[in-house]
């Protein structure tokens, strides 16, 4: 039943095949097609982040498609959780990755920072996909996720209460002006901490956030002294703004 439905959807070069062996082939080709549809959808979601705000309707439709595929794969039993912590969580978590993807897709509407930034549990989406996705696709997804994260990581903290900000604008309440800018300071604070950490000598985690900001440095501990003057300069500029 599923196989026939899928054949109708995709550009069907699949001929009607008969026989038990052929039946098996059809089923596995359906799985492959479904998998490639899932991969395609995930890539589409990641690539939503252009210069202009992504089309929310399109993102929602793609995310719903991903969720549908995941649900079906879960029913099939082909959707396996990899990380042990994922397996311990409630059944609802089969949809965790979609939620995180959705967060990434409309990250600027006021959600948490994009996935894969070092939080333990957000390794979920990419690692969950590893067994079912081909290695190449997984690497591609991961790299595109990281690319997106680099320059946008700063935006992540901005957007926590972005929606709150716009709701404030809608109601035009002047006393909320403080709230408007309360979150603007936080990324700069993070940067300050990071830079301090660099100078003091190496915390690998926060340094990741610098990827999109400072020019690439070989390592946190190397050439600290020579960079000190430059970092001081940068911090000065930030503090002044």
């Amino acid at each position: 039943m599923f196989a026939r439905g899928l054949k109708r959807k995709c550009v069907g070069h699949e001929e009607d095949v008969e026989g038990a062996l052929a039946g098996l082939k059809t089923v596995s080709s359906y799985s492959l097609q479904r998998q490639s549809l899932l991969d395609m959808s995930l890539v589409k979601l990641q690539l939503c982040h252009m210069l202009v705000e992504p089309n929310l309707c399109r993102s929602v439709l793609i995310a719903n498609t991903v969720r549908q595929i995941q649900e079906e794969m879960t029913q099939d039993g082909t959707w396996r959780a990899v990380a042990p912590q994922a397996a311990e969580r409630a059944p609802l978590d089969r949809l965790v990755s979609t939620e995180i993807l959705c967060r990434a897709a409309w990250g600027q509407e006021g959600a948490h920072p994009a996935p894969g930034l070092g939080d333990g549990h957000t390794q979920g989406p990419v690692s969950d996909l590893c067994p079912v996705t081909s290695a190449q696709a997984a690497r591609h997804l991961q790299s595109s996720a990281w690319e997106m994260d680099g320059p946008r990581e700063n935006r992540g903290s901005f957007h926590k209460s972005l929606d709150q900000i716009f709701e404030t604008l809608e109601t035009k309440n002047p006393s909320c002006m403080e709230e408007l800018f309360s979150d603007v300071d936080s990324p700069y604070y993070d940067l300050d901490t990071v830079l301090t950490g660099m100078m003091g000598g190496a915390r690998p985690g926060p340094c990741e956030g610098l990827e999109g900001l400072a020019p690439a440095t070989p390592g946190p501990s190397s050439s600290c002294k020579s960079d000190l003057g430059e970092l001081d300069h940068v911090v000065e500029i930030l503090v002044e703004t």
């Binding site: 439905g5 309707c57 929602v60 901005f158 035009k172």
Partner: protein, 444 residues
Amino acid sequence: MHERSVVADIISTVEFNHTGELLATGDKGGRVVIFQREQEVSGGECKIVTPPFSMGSSKNQVHRRGEYNVYSTFQSHEPEFDYLKSLEIEEKINKIRWLPQQNAAYFLLSTNDKTVKLWKVSERDKRPEGYNLKDEEGRLRDPATITTLRVPVLRPMDLMVEATPRRVFANAHTYHINSISVNSDYETYMSADDLRINLWNFEITNQSFNIVDIKPANMEELTEVITAAEFHPHHCNTFVYSSSKGTIRLCDMRASALCDRHTKFFEEPEDPSNRSFFSEIISSISDVKFSHSGRYIMTRDYLTVKVWDLNMENRPIETYQVHDYLRSKLCSLYENDCIFDKFECVWNGSDSVIMTGSYNNFFRMFDRNTKRDVTLEASRENSKPRAILKPRKVCVGGKRRKDEISVDSLDFSKKILHTAWHPSENIIAVAATNNLYIFQDKVN
């Protein structure tokens, strides 16, 4: 620079005014171009002819048939940068809606993703001359040299058409505006974005009322967005909005301030035999339009146009296949994003014919009474002036006849998303990427 000007010319909206005298187009570059119909030299009656349509009049007519010429061009919206989000706000005009004419000037609303503007388009054919304090070139005169006073008089000048922004309705939409609709009370209008609909008074720009809000408390739970909205043509308290899940909600503003609970809910049950991973995407409604009578609504989804009776919520009364041959191509169309194209649909003046666009610069017309339909093409090669448009046909499988075109030869980059129909006559405007085609019916 050359590339930019080419991209800027993609037409993004087309709309006749209430008399059909004016036709406005908006483009991706934020420009509005208004065309005005020539006054007809002789007052001949024109016959209403069903398709096939022709361009211009037949050869035994002497007078010009009232063609559309450029009347006014102005820059409505400029590109903006949202510093808070580090994102550009496109200047592309998403929609234009005319206000009914109440005096000598014309008024229209134009909107991009974030800001709605009210424009006044007026003619100036007289100029005051004989100022006391200024000379003929406009330079200030030395008051000491003025010995007599005179009254300035109005003298005729060459016709000048000016467009001035009269109101700017900004900062009310977090998400992208997809629709605007003028209310039949002519005092209010609504603007709809992906998650909210706001009601405005034309006179008040710093405040709007939120009448629909479907944003979930947790954005992670978002599964549905608003795709289009329109006021009822006669009942100023009634409006409809469509969603990405293929549903239409009719709301009555008298029921409550926030119309989160609909009065009517239109949804067709899904056909289980057609179910696929793309079912939801192709059910997403891209346009919703009330009939002129106000009795019906028409919706456009990816493959069909549907007509609904306001009194029947459980299914449409008519369904028309626009390009069903694409059903087997949905995977490819998903891959190249064409499946997300938003086609519009329009009624003719008498609500008897409906029209919508397709790919390969094809557009389709469906006669609701005779159940006949026709596919026409908007292209330079096929449309010499005064020529009659030839019906086109897409060959689905098997043998292709001489004039048919096969599905695989269709050009998916040539899409007709925006069309308009004159309010009372058989004149249609079709936007094919950056070209505007105006077709009139054959006159005998």
